[in-house]
Symmetry: C2
Subunit: 113 residues, 2 copies
Amino acid sequence: MKSKSAVEKLAALAQESRLAIFRALVQEGPAGLCAGDIGARLGVVPATLSFHLKELSRAGLLKSRQEGRFVYYAPDFKAMNALLGYLTENCCSGGVCDDACAPTAASAMKCKA
Amino acid sequence: MKSKSAVEKLAALAQESRLAIFRALVQEGPAGLCAGDIGARLGVVPATLSFHLKELSRAGLLKSRQEGRFVYYAPDFKAMNALLGYLTENCCSGGVCDDACAPTAASAMKCKA
DNA sequence: ATAATATTTCGATAATCATCGAAATATGAA
DNA sequence: TTCATATTTCGATGATTATCGAAATATTAT
């Protein structure tokens, strides 16, 4: 993961509506939700929603597919995992910390879709 | 983790210099680095560096301690792990995805310090 | 074709953020 | 105390971002 693209992903997530959108989609899974349902669920008007979905997509965090009149959005789990990995990369230089500290509970997307 | 504070943490990380600072500190471990060394390593002038360190601290991502004239900064690994957990929480609602998809490589801070 | 529904683009406005020189503050050394 | 070093605060400037009404585009149903 390039640093620039990591910053873009983090910036995309660093906004209340977009973070809520992303988390809802993570919980929804690979099937995703269509734009209208996301907007209804989170109370975001269409123009604003579209802007945010575009930001998340541009950052590479979402995949979308058209189904008739509807556009379905789902997380790009692979990209998200790459971001998480980038943030935690080489923690403590693999030194004393790896012995002194226990791993935390899983904090990666389980989904590879 | 409250959503507001997650947004604040993500916003703090969503800036090139700050992400570089944070990653350098993650790799350095709990002992941390003093401000001057961070600035020298990353090529950031003092005023700007101080601004960014304050942002990261305000967001709860860094701990600091004074040692003589020096101020040492280190990641708050616990807070960071909470953020990673929040992002991946309840992935795919614990449904089909948990069976269909394998966990990825560890992507959490190993350090609890 | 016409109408209805879903989504995106445009455009203007208001708000927030990054940078860094200069000055201020804090601590240790001579 | 006086000086040198480390870090932070102040203040001004330029740049980026969020919001959303109105209009445009796209797809399906009648």
